[in-house]
């Protein structure tokens, strides 16, 4: 028995609700739904919005099979967010939407209004998770996945979390991740978009970092035909820190955009950002990054680096780094950006040692990504991703 699923554009405000959910959540979904319908399309000049048409996205009223790639570390709460709404209602209510606001964009609103999939992860005060947690999300029924992850680390908690989107299907994935770090918490966050080649990925990710808390954020983006990721590290706490790296590979037919924001709000916050991109064939990657040093901040240290390697003449990468400073009290703010082909001097050096040109290019590119891939915490996953990237170069 096959029932034709309705498309999202045809839904009513009643259709989006989930029976049995608390009133506050129903109201939040409704408000988000209103934003979906009333807001203007986002002004994203480098993202092809026709790849994310609501008229093409099917609505699946129930959650798909949730998956995990690893066991749950002792003492950490991991459950589908839809269950946490009931089992940990107060926590979910306190944090849901606090990092990724539904009015961040039409698609953030779409996610808030219609999510069924996704995870709730909670690490209690001062608890150090002993092993990495790997959350793996694929497509269920219907052509659209709407998933939302809510990750809460209480004061002094520590966790290594891998969030991976992988598999074929869809093609539409509209996902959001909210990461809440309490004071002194440490999150090693590995965010992987390794979808099959036909997926259209739309993601919003925001990490809110408390006093003296640290996030080590490693992003790997190799899959999908279209990717638009709005990501932000909100350094709200005094002495909060982020070390953010990314590896992006855009090959034939891929259009991958990342818009990472570093927002310095607290005193003595520190950020290091190093994004690496390889484009090949007809691939097109965009880095649309921003460092925003807010008015109330002080003694900020921030550095943004972004490097792109072109492996073919048709491949394209755009880099639009920005820096906005609304305070007179900045300790250090720096920026470096490079873009170009594989360095001739490096190639010559390696060839002069007998290494054929194609192997030399390969080693240089893998070396380029090494510092990012090296941070993937699970050996098998790191080896798999490294091999996948190597095979594509």
């Amino acid at each position: 028995m096959l029932t034709k699923l309705p498309v999202i554009a045809a839904l009513t405000a009643q259709d989006i609700l989930v029976e049995g959910e608390p009133t506050w959540l129903q109201q939040w979904r409704q408000a988000a739904w209103q934003h979906v319908n009333e807001s203007a399309p986002p002004l994203w000049r480098r993202t092809d919005l026709t790849a994310y048409a609501l008229a093409d996205m099917e609505f699946t009223p129930t959650a798909s099979e949730s998956q995990r790639g690893s066991a749950v570390p002792d003492g950490v709460v991991v459950m589908p967010l839809s269950q946490a709404v009931h089992a940990h209602g107060d926590l979910v209510k306190a944090h849901l939407g606090s990092a990724v606001a539904f009015n961040a964009s039409k698609y953030a609103a779409l996610n808030a209004a219609t999510w069924r999939d996704g995870w709730f992860v909670y690490v209690p005060k001062n608890h150090e998770a002993s092993v990495p947690l790997h959350l793996l999300q694929g497509f269920g029924s219907g052509n659209t996945l709407v998933a939302r992850n809510l990750v809460v680390l209480e004061r002094g908690a520590q966790l290594s979390l891998i969030e991976q989107y992988a598999g074929d299907g869809g093609p539409f994935a509209v996902v959001a991740s909210e990461l809440i770090l309490g004071d002194g918490a440490t999150l090693q966050y590995t965010s992987m978009q390794t979808w099959g080649a036909t997926v259209h990925h739309m993601g919003h990710q925001v990490a809110k970092v408390g006093n003296d808390a640290t996030i080590v954020w490693t992003a790997v983006n190799t899959g999908a035909a279209h990717q638009h990721i709005d990501a932000e590290t909100y350094l709200g706490g005094n002495g909060s820190r982020v070390n953010w790296t990314a590896a992006t590979v855009a090959g034939d037919g891929q259009r991958l955009l990342t818009a990472p924001w570093l927002r310095h709000v607290g005193r003595a916050t520190e950020a290091h950002m190093d994004f690496k991109t390889v484009v090949k064939g007809s691939g097109y990657a965009t880095f649309d990054g921003m460092i925003k040093i807010e008015g109330g901040s002080a003694d900020t240290i921030t550095r943004l680096e972004e490097h792109a390697l072109h492996l073919s003449p048709q491949a394209r990468s755009d880099s639009i780094p920005g820096l906005k400073i609304d305070t007179n009290n900045v300790q250090k703010a720096g920026h470096a950006s490079t873009s170009g082909e594989v360095d001739d001097e490096q190639l010559f050096y390696m060839q002069a040692r007998g290494i054929p040109k194609s192997d030399a290019v390969h080693m240089i590119v893998m070396g380029f990504f090494e510092s990012v891939l090296d941070r993937i915490p699970l050996d098998t996953l790191r080896e798999q991703v490294t091999a996948d990237i190597a095979a594509r170069i």
Partner: protein, 260 residues
């Protein structure tokens, strides 16, 4: 086999740097090329190896029955030519150990054979690199560092010699290996080269240097002087000493006259 350079001309862009170099390096000899800055010494070494910034506009370089100028760079290396770089480049993300293993395996590769069959066994490779590093006074941890990334001048040159001793070339070109070395590092590096020469007495070495200093440790059999893109004088080791004492000007005057 001899390395024979015949009337070699090379440009950077539109500027002619090599203006007809003739030189023969015989196996088992250390042949020094000395010359003032800007005389074309480094251009010569880079042109022999095939650096893409230099355009050959005339001449030939024969080695083992082939005009190496017609070969891709990696084939020149596999023929037995080795260039110890004046300024070794860093390759972030590629460890010394992995890089050298790739180089060793590239040398061992045989067309039509599975590279896994010809690759050096891991245990043998580890043993060899450890021995060679110890001989050069290179710390064990070096193998795991990214190639030349953050290395001091002395470390870079030691790693050049380490590569040379692992790849065992039949003709080594050393481009200003002494530049940036203190006297201790210079001794270690020279000793490395001399050890290699003892092990491979048929190896030819072309030592390119500005100063006589290096030649106190790596003793040349032949000395050629290069000026304005040509070899202008050849002699025995005594020529190097004479240059040390008198500078290059007396040769300049003899060759180009007193016009300026």
């Amino acid at each position: 086999m001899e390395l024979v350079i015949k009337d070699l001309h090379a440009n950077i862009g539109d500027k002619e740097i090599l203006k007809g170099v003739n030189l023969t390096v015989t196996p088992g000899t250390i042949h020094a090329i000395m010359g003032p800055n800007g005389s074309g010494k480094s251009t010569l070494s880079n042109t022999i190896m095939g650096h893409p910034s230099y355009t050959v506009t005339g001449g030939e370089v024969w080695y083992k029955g082939q005009n190496v100028l017609e070969l891709p760079v990696d084939e020149r290396a596999k023929l037995g030519l080795f260039l110890a770089f004046q300024y070794p480049v860093s390759i972030p993300g590629v460890t010394v150990a992995n890089f050298l293993r790739a180089a060793v395996n590239a040398h061992r590769a045989v067309a039509g054979k599975d590279p896994r069959e010809t690759a050096i066994p891991m245990a043998q490779y580890r043993k060899e690199i450890r021995e060679k590093m110890a001989a050069l006074g290179v710390d064990d941890g070096f193998a795991r560092r990214y190639l030349n990334d953050g290395f001091s001048g002395g470390e870079k040159k030691r790693v050049e010699i380490l590569q040379m001793s692992m790849l065992k070339p039949s003709m080594a070109i050393m481009d200003e290996t002494d530049s940036g070395l203190d006297i201790d590092a210079l001794k270690v590096v020279s000793q490395g080269v001399n050890t290699l020469l003892t092990q491979n007495p048929e190896m030819g070495v072309l030592v390119i240097t500005h100063y006589q200093r290096l030649l106190n440790y790596i003793k040349p059999n032949r000395v050629s002087v290069m000026m304005e893109g040509r070899i202008v004088r050849e002699g025995g080791p005594e020529l190097a000493l004479e240059l040390e004492e008198r500078g290059y000007d007396f040769i300049r005057e003899e060759v180009f006259g007193n016009a300026n």
